[in-house]
Symmetry: C2
Subunit: 122 residues, 2 copies
C-alpha cells in the first residue's frame, strides 16, 4: 500500500508579506538558546547580515520588538529575546502543534479511508 | 493595528514526492466541470501536455485511476473523472475546509491575543 502522508506549511502575513514563519521562529529560538545572533545565524547556515535583516523585517511586519542587542564586552555583543519575543516563540509553537494535530485528524477522517479503498481496488 | 492573518499550504506526499495538492485538485475539478482535459488545461493557463503529465503523475503517486478519456468524436476527445476521482476531489475539499477552520481557531487562541497586546504596547 502506498504510504501517503499529509503535509502543511504555516505562516503569518501582513499586507500580503510574510510576517512570521517556521523558518523565522527557528531563528528566534536559536537566538534565545545561544544568546547571540552571530552564533544563531551560523548554526542555521545564514550570514549575519541576512539573519539580522530577517529579524528587523519581522519586527517591522509584526510591529513589535522581539530581540535586544548589547554591543561589545569581552565575548563580543550579545542578542537576547525580549519577554514578548519569548512569548511569541512559545505561542507560535503551540499554534503549530494544534495544526499538526488537526492535520492528522482531518486526513484520517476524510482521505485515509478513500486512499485505502482506492488502493485495495487497484 | 497591523492586520496579521494566518496562512497555510496543504498537500499530500508519497515517498517524499507531492502526490496531491491544491493546484492538482483544481485541475481535476475543472476536468469534472468541463468534461475535457484540453479545456481544463486552457482555463488554468497550462499546456495540454503539462496538464496530462500532472494527471498521470498523481495517478501513479496515489495508485488510483482518477480520469477516463474517450478519443475522437465530433467535438474531439472527452475526459471525465472516475467515481473515485469525484470522491477524491470532494474529500480533499472537505480536508481543506476542516483545516481552514482549525487554522482560524488556532490563530485566535494562541497568537491573536499576543499580537493585540504587543501592538497596543507599541
Amino acid at each position: 500500500m502506498a504510504h501517503v502522508v499529509p503535509r502543511q506549511k504555516l505562516w503569518l502575513e501582513r499586507n500580503g508579506r510574510i510576517a512570521f514563519s517556521d523558518y523565522r521562529v527557528g531563528l528566534l529560538e536559536r537566538i534565545g538558546e545561544l544568546g547571540s545572533l552571530a552564533a544563531a545565524a551560523e548554526s542555521l547556515g545564514l550570514s549575519y547580515r541576512r539573519a539580522w535583516g530577517k529579524i528587523k523585517e519581522l519586527e517591522a511586519n509584526l510591529g513589535v520588538r522581539l530581540v535586544v542587542s548589547e554591543v561589545g564586552g569581552p565575548g563580543g555583543g550579545h542578542t537576547r529575546l525580549t519577554p514578548l519575543g519569548q512569548d511569541f516563540v512559545a505561542a507560535y509553537r503551540r499554534f503549530q502543534r494544534r495544526l499538526e494535530v488537526a492535520l492528522g485528524e482531518a486526513f484520517a477522517a476524510e482521505l485515509e479511508p478513500l486512499l485505502a479503498t482506492g488502493l485495495a481496488e487497484h
